[in-house]
Point group: C2
Chain length 196, copies 2
């Protein structure tokens, strides 16, 4: 597990040929479709490779594991969907809620991917590790930005934990991804109460 190049994701990368980029792109696209169509339970690396018209061996050249592929897919989707601008919100609370709402509907729009990544982030693969850190940092940064000068460590931490918890609970099926928005609105208000 994990030793190939696989430093994708900061893709303009020395030593990666156009052909390789093409291959990786095809794999990612295939993974996304597969995830949507058959779900992460049924999807296999072999299926993805086939859909991308690539051999399984090649797929494993670029992705150290299924979890790595999931994480990469999620990371890309996440950066493709940046948070709404903080200035557009009437209050700090509303701004943070805009972030959680945005993330919630982001997840709700791709429940299979969300479920897949939640599990995969628990993997101890070094390739997953890197992405996990980036993803975590991205959440923190969105909350910090929305909080602006109010971005107290404790508050950011509380929000991050609550959001992680929401992700976990939805992954477990205790909440639907669609319910996350409303639920987090209340939680955000509760956490920020008397502060904004």
């Amino acid at each position: 597990m994990s030793n190939q190049l696989s430093a994708l994701s900061q893709l303009p990368r020395r030593g990666v040929s156009a052909r390789q980029v093409e291959t990786v792109e095809r794999l990612l696209a295939a993974g996304e479709v597969e995830l949507r169509e058959v779900g992460h339970e049924a999807m296999t690396m072999r299926t993805v490779a086939k859909r991308a018209d690539v051999s399984p061996a090649t797929a494993y050249t670029y992705f150290a594991s299924k979890n790595h592929l999931f994480a990469e897919l999620f990371w890309r989707a996440l950066v493709d969907n940046p948070a709404p601008a903080a200035e557009d919100s009437a209050s700090v609370v509303a701004g943070v809620q805009a972030v959680t709402r945005h993330l919630s509907s982001f997840l709700a729009a791709r429940p299979e991917m969300a479920a897949a990544v939640t599990g995969s982030l628990l993997s101890h693969d070094p390739d997953v590790e890197r992405l996990r850190l980036r993803i975590g940092a991205e959440f923190v940064s969105r909350f910090s930005a929305a909080l602006g000068p109010l971005a107290d460590d404790a508050v950011v931490d509380a929000l991050t934990l609550a959001f992680s918890g929401a992700l976990l609970q939805a992954g477990m099926g205790l909440s639907t991804y669609d319910d996350l928005g409303d639920r987090l609105d209340v939680v955000v208000a509760t956490i920020l109460e008397g502060r904004a």
Copy 2:
């Protein structure tokens, strides 16, 4: 996956012979040891069965999956470690913190089991499902009890999500299980601020 008796865990159960109980107990004990000694990555159902002096086939008679075994193990450990009595705390905040501290050290005392269960709770096995609901309810009930009359839905929800998030983050390795106690103290205080 999943169709056997396996309604363990409410064990005084009609139709389960003493011999079966003995078998299950041995499997659970073996699972606990195995988890502690080799970790959930390396542990296999076969190893557990061997350690319990039972055939793999028998192990699968009582546990529908590895995840089911993990969940059952965690559930039992959890109920064996009830929350500290609410009356022993000076304030509501302190009471809730006592609960999170207690849970944190509970997890820290068995990090491998904690990591294992976090992953396994994401499984869609019906056998896991039941345990997941029970475990979730147990957390909620501990927080509600500590909050007493202050047990507002939003607050309980915020606490539960934050705790789930802590579990997830520790499972990911973003936090150590040992850090959870301190981290949650701050988060609890933040959530309850101006309320207690």
